[in-house]
């Protein structure tokens, strides 16, 4: 092994230091925001002159934040389900079938990851104006799906490629019909890929800003859009409180997923 600790000598302290710096770089801004959300300074002064829960109270009393939160959540859930279904279907076709233009089609499905989001957003904006989808829930879903589906195509496609098709043959000869095979063999076997697709799709929608800014109406503002406008209009510490809650929610999600994963694969 190249990285045997005992053989590194004093150099290992250099590595420790480096690792600590990287972690600090990644984590400090988040810690900073969390501290500011409990600070009494209206202008986000650091260190905070006094500690307070005022901004959290203000956040709770403003129904627009709650509205945005629920909108984002509903939207992300809808996008997750649709993205897994559509992306999964596409992944099946792309992995299982051999047809002309397969690679091209695959590249096409993944292209939203490469095209700058702002271009997608502008195109979508002018297109959905014609259809009257701007500022509607359906418009939001359509926009976010463009960003989310590539994740599903890639994640589910990867698990399908690793999946041994002989398992489906074995299930068929055992007497299982197509739907039974899908439900009881294929989907459980590619569940990790489906789970990853769901998580990435959810997150893609949950913190999507660019398309949402174009799609938003005064009545329908997702959480990231609300945060963005709030930052521009009044730089209030409420934004720090929102951010802190979001970070907490993400951490909770990771812990829950980690536990679920450990139950699935003991050891």
């Amino acid at each position: 092994m190249i990285l045997t600790r005992s053989k590194l000598g004093l150099f290992r302290y250099v590595l420790y230091g480096h690792a600590a710096l990287v972690m600090a770089f990644l984590l400090l801004p988040i810690v900073f925001i969390a501290l500011l959300s409990f600070g009494s300074s209206r202008w986000l002064a650091f260190p905070p002159p006094e500690w307070t829960l005022k901004w959290y109270r203000e956040l709770a009393s403003d129904p627009r934040w709650a509205d945005s939160f629920w909108l984002s959540l509903r939207l992300a859930l809808c996008v997750t389900i649709l993205s897994v279904l559509l992306g999964g279907a596409a992944a099946f076709a792309l992995t299982r079938r051999r047809f002309r233009g397969r690679r091209l089609l695959k590249a096409f499905f993944v292209s939203p990851m490469i095209v700058p989001v702002v271009i997608v957003a502008i195109a979508l904006y002018s297109f959905s104006l014609k259809l009257g989808l701007n500022g509607t829930f359906v418009g939001f879903i359509a926009g976010h799906l463009i960003i989310a589906v590539p994740f599903s195509v890639i994640c589910i496609g990867n698990s399908l490629r690793a999946f041994d098709i002989a398992l489906e043959q074995a299930a068929a000869i055992c007497g299982a019909g197509r739907l039974q095979i899908l439900r009881r063999v294929t989907v459980p076997c590619i569940a990790p890929g489906v789970m990853a697709a769901a998580i990435f799709s959810f997150l893609a929608s949950w913190d999507e800003v660019v398309i949402s800014v174009f799609m938003a109406s005064p009545q329908l503002q997702t959480l990231p859009v609300r945060m963005w406008t709030s930052l521009r209009m009044d730089l209030s510490p409420v934004i720090a409180a929102v951010s802190t809650l979001l970070v907490l929610a993400s951490m909770l999600l990771m812990v829950v997923l980690g536990l679920a994963f450990m139950r699935r694969n003991p050891k």
């Binding site: 002989a166 398992l167 043959q169 299930a171 068929a172 000869i173 299982a176």
Partner: protein
């Protein structure tokens, strides 16, 4: 032959993939309760034929009858066939018991009955203690035994096995061969077994179908194939064999007198080979040739040879010898026989060959 309905009847089965013909006119009857092996090298069409019977692929021509009923167009799940695959195809997210229960639960059997039948099937393969384990916690041999239990638990009319022991080491393979053989006797299920291992085929089968280039070149018992191989290919595939080149000197009715290049002649009873002048190859098994100091009686042909090499094998001795015209032969003597007439490398002797032990083929 009885006129009972065969468990499997293949009639002029074809499977083409574009320009490539994987199965080229296979016809075969498999009797109920029979253990029949498809033997052939890879790409000979044996696995494709099995997949056609299973229903994973549709034939481009011909017909498949299972117990007299055509199954062409019927999906695999409606054929009531059991199958064990070469790769371990246990469902990784289910326990051993759940895997074995799978065919029963898709048939919507009552829970209690599933339980008893799964127990019975696991006892059959001696894995009842492992019911709660995951497939990944089992060895390869154990996994294949679970696969066997899963294939037998719903009592299919026909069991297909596609090189099920290919991934196992020799000792384990022989152990499970024995188990499968015992199960076959006990359950009386018809088994179609695919292998490229001739020893495995001989050890296990009632009959063997030898595949070459998408066709069956011969079907018969192991003894048929060993003693009366239909073609030089079959002779070379089953057991060890020697081929001597010669020429038909004269025909006497059904008997051809074949002149050997080093002098000497063999009379072979075979009506199928051509008249005088035809070049032939004569197949003799290594243990059918006797080395002796003299020509011996007239009933046997005797060819003068020189011993090139003597190999001691414990219970037997193998001599690699060369004839006067430079053809090589392998001769196998039992220990007692070798002791009677010991030969070292460089010694000269006569190879005595009984004509009735020879099979002649027209040289191609």
């Amino acid at each position: 032959m009885s006129d009972a309905i065969p468990a499997v009847r293949l009639t002029d089965l074809h499977k083409r993939y574009g320009d490539f013909t994987a199965v080229d006119g296979v016809s075969l009857d498999v009797r109920t309760g029979e253990f029949l092996t498809f033997l052939g090298s890879s790409g000979s069409g044996k696995t494709t034929t099995l997949n056609l019977i299973a229903g994973f692929d549709e034939p481009t021509g011909g017909q498949i009858l299972l117990n007299g009923a055509a199954v062409t167009g019927l999906p695999p799940q409606r054929r009531n066939i059991g199958m064990v695959f070469q790769r371990y195809t246990l469902f990784p997210h289910m326990s051993v018991a759940e895997n074995v229960a799978f065919p029963l639960s898709v048939r919507k059997l009552p829970k209690a009955e599933i339980g008893t039948r799964v127990d019975k099937a696991l006892r059959l393969v001696q894995l009842e203690r492992f019911a709660a384990r995951r497939p990944s916690q089992l060895s390869g041999g154990q996994q294949q035994r679970v696969a066997l239990a899963r294939a037998l638990v719903y009592e299919p009319q026909l069991l297909l096995m596609d090189e099920p022991l290919g991934a196992l080491d020799k000792k384990l393979r022989e152990e499970i061969q024995h188990e499968i053989r015992k199960l076959h006797h006990r359950l009386g299920v018809t088994i179609l077994y695919v292998t490229h291992d001739q020893e495995e085929a001989l050890r296990m089968s009632d009959r063997i179908a030898v595949f070459e280039h998408g066709r069956i070149v011969q079907v018969g018992t192991g003894e048929d194939l060993y003693h009366r191989p239909a073609t030089a290919f079959v002779a070379g595939f089953i057991g060890n064999s020697n081929f001597l080149c010669g020429q038909v000197a004269e025909r006497r009715g059904d008997t051809a007198v074949i002149a050997l290049p080093g002098g000497g002649a063999l009379s072979v009873a075979d009506a199928s080979i051509g008249g005088a002048g035809t070049a032939v190859r004569i197949m003799i098994r290594p243990e059918e040739i006797e080395l002796a100091p003299d020509r011996g009686d007239q009933a046997r042909a005797a060819i003068p040879i020189t011993v090139r090499e003597r190999i001691f094998l414990g219970d037997a001795v193998t001599y690699e010898v060369t004839t006067a015209d430079g053809q090589n032969l392998s001769i196998r003597h039992g220990q007692a026989q070798a002791n009677r007439f010991p030969l070292e490398a460089g010694a000269s002797a006569f190879a005595r060959i009984a004509p009735e032990r020879c099979v002649a083929y027209t040289a191609t």
